[in-house]
């Protein structure tokens, strides 16, 4: 069941792919805003520069949290691409995320503190939807294993249209895109400086950036599962979903955390109940 090749490919290629996605992201964003934008290799230059900077810390424990965040994010993605249990993948993701939050808390700084609280609210907001997505996949394919879900021969998205839409909704949170980029943002500045990453600098910040690349690849892999019956359609769908997220990012302003939380839960509750109920009623479950 566990595919070692998937693990190796993920660990080696994700930083490249994730970095490129980030570069393309910035290019397209720039065009949407009427700018030329940097080269698509810019994220690599940025991270490279971060690693050349002096290592400064707010306290000695910070690095531990960030390294744990990094390692468990890789673990999450590796488990996913190895075809492991999707619920365990989600739990590992939560664990990784909690380490980032703890790192922000430990700094004892007002901005990173608010960032940490908001990051937790984000986790609370998106987690039910992600679990329901996994549950929905199980109901259709009768397996929690990513490998089995990926080799299901019919388009999952047709069975799970509501859950797919709900997942796209919370994906905005996970990709740190407006209007849901409340805890930290790719955009230059926000009302809480850099939020959860305020107190990280130099190589530590570089590591967080790379971790985010890994996360992006993993999340797009999750999107791919909905279309896995046909690899070509799957890849096209992933690209379209990412473009949609970019459009939303550039077309909307950041909202308050209350709205993030309420709307995500509302979406999750409605699509979760309706979609799962229909599946049960149809006897798919």
């Amino acid at each position: 069941m566990i595919s070692v090749a998937g693990v190796v490919v993920f660990i080696l290629l994700s930083p490249v792919i994730g970095g490129l996605i980030a570069g393309i992201d910035r290019k397209i964003t720039a065009h949407m805003q009427g700018r030329v934008g940097p080269t698509i290799l810019q994220p690599f230059y940025d991270v490279g520069k971060l690693f050349e900077k002096e290592m400064t810390v707010a306290n000695d424990t910070q690095r531990f949290y960030v390294i744990s965040y990094f390692i468990f994010m890789i673990f999450t993605g590796a488990l996913f691409f190895a075809g492991g249990d999707i619920l365990l993948v989600i739990f590992a993701l939560t664990l990784a995320q909690i380490f980032l939050v703890l790192g922000a808390y430990s700094a004892n700084s007002p901005y990173s503190h608010v960032g940490a609280e908001r990051e937790l609210i984000q986790i609370m907001a998106y987690e039910p939807m992600v679990i329901l997505a996994a549950v929905g996949m199980y109901v259709v394919t009768k397996s929690f294993n990513v490998s089995a879900i990926a080799s299901y021969n019919q388009p999952l998205v047709l069975f799970l249209p509501g859950i797919f839409a709900g997942f796209i909704y919370v994906l905005t949170i996970k990709l740190r895109k407006s209007p849901f980029d409340i805890s930290t943002s790719h955009h230059a500045h926000q009302e809480i400086v850099k939020g959860v990453t305020t107190e990280f600098s130099g190589p530590t910040l570089g590591l967080i950036e790379i971790t985010h690349w890994y996360e992006t690849v993993f999340l797009l892999g999750f999107v791919y599962l909905f279309f896995a019956f046909n690899p070509l359609i799957g890849i096209v769908a992933v690209i379209l979903v990412y473009l949609l997220e970019l459009l939303i990012d550039n077309a909307s302003a950041r909202v308050k955390w209350q709205l993030v939380m309420k709307s995500s839960w509302m979406v999750a509750a409605i699509v979760g109940v309706v979609n799962l109920a229909i599946l049960y009623y149809m006897g798919v479950g």
């Binding site: 000695d60 909690i98 937790l120 987690e127 679990i131 549950v135």
Partner: protein, 634 residues
Amino acid sequence: MQLLLFLILGPLITAFFMLLVRKEPERNWIVKLSALGIGVVTVILLLSLFDKGTLYYSFAAESTSLLMFFIEMAIAVFILYLGIKYKNYLVTGLILLQSGLMLYFELVYAHSVDVKYTLFIDQFSIIMALIIGIIGSLICVYALGYMKDFHAHHKELPDRRNIFFFIMFAFLSAMFGLVFSNNLLWVYFFWEITTLCSFLLIGYTKTEEATSNAFTALWMNLLGGVGFAIAILYLATQTGGIMGLEALLASGKALVLIPVVLIGFAGLTKAAQLPFSSWLVGAMVAPTPVSALLHSSTMVKAGVYILVRLAPIFQATFSGYILAFIGALTFLLASAIAISQSNAKRVLAYSTIANLGLIVACAGIGTYEAIWAAILLIIFHAISKSLLFLSVGTVEHQIESRDIEDMNGLIMRMPKVAAMMVIGIAGMFLAPFGMLISKWAAIQAFIDAPFGFIFVIILAFGSALTLFFWAKWMGRLIVVTLERENLETKIDSNIWIALVSLAGLTAITCFIFPVISAMLIEPFLLQTYGNVTRLSQDNIIIMVMMLFLIVLLPVSILLPQRKYRHLTPYMGGMTTNTDLSYNGAIGLKRDLKLSNYYIIPWFGEVKLQTLGIYLCTGLIGIMFVTAAYVGVIV
């Protein structure tokens, strides 16, 4: 058989010793020795009986039952006296009703009821015995150190430690009796003893608040006791005197559904499910070892124990689903309320109620997968929760507060205790620790059950809520502040014994849970349901990998590493100082305090609890109606 009797009578003998001994050194060694003895005997019990299946014993039933009846009546008179003395007419009425029912049963039906086996033991009983024997005794050891400090802090309260320890050990004895009894009358007897013990322990300080909360606990549990008594009377009159647990489980669902639902109702009160959650929250006024004991290894666990025992009857009945729904709602609402609490003990209380809700949900669904999850929940919850209570109690005595906000930067002031608290919290909600394994098992169990998707959805939302309140608490603890004064030096050695053992247990059970499952839970399920479940081998390997990672990563901190330049936090302006303060107008220095989110408008206690009380009371009504429908018509 001897082991069983030792476990029931041993703590009782210790209890009477406690009553006699008034000198501290003597009490210390008696308690430690008994704790060790009880712990060792439960382990012997495990080693000698885990592969023996279910064993039944017919032990001197007649005489003991009679003795029990007299003790019951004595207790009733005692409670009646207290009820009248404190003018609590609810309690008075309930105890009159309850003992009236039992008296009627004893006079009219008792002679016609013949139970072949009074005691029994199977793998589930062994698990419960281990929880009571090991965690319960550790709490008693902890109490030695804690109660010493407690009376040093509260000079105004009379030192009644001999009575305190008497009740603690009597409580353990009653719990052992409860999980080993096959005769329902005996179960009922021990059930009532635990009610009385918890009442006395909650009211230990005899302050006005303690007394009033103790009476709340009493009336709620007496109400459950009334349910239990009616169930016994029903069994005696309607089913031809089925009074053994094994006979009850073997008989047809329709025949015994009504009494089982009544006992289930008693289980709900004892497990502090909505609408009865307030007694457990109120029980927080008691000294911390009491809370730890009530929450982890005794009392509430008695409630879920009986529900899990009766789960095969609940399975696939409408009443069972309603029961599960009460549990699931309690899980959701209690988790939400926990977010709004800043008092650490109240957070723990609501988290207990929530987790018990999950166990009740599993029991109500009653499939073998659900019961597997329920038993795992019982084990892991007992360990992590006792660790958390004991560390909160320890912290409280050092910093004079049990508010989570005051635990800011605890890692700097009390590094070891804070680390244990972090382990306990991680054990409650993070992969790859125990509670998360159980929640995972619960998701898998629910999804395969009829109507299961409703429960999965509730679980998905509820666990997101638990994540929020645990993580923000953890965040408070690990803040690195400038304080460097270590407050840990004054902590009593007995307290360390208990804390270190429990922290070790939290980690070890995660490593060995596949063994626990294979040795105890799976044989139990096979015997009860003819079917077993477990995590797949791959998943277990992955979990163990995660565990190793999580154990190794903190060690990396200890390795010698380069000293990096420290910078002060960014404060966004010139007018700031390095110690988290601002220079205000006219040269005033203004301190900055960071505090967690509590989101009271959404998760306020009163609002949600009221909602829960209405909903769950209604559901209990429906549960009774559906049971009556099945029982009477079919």
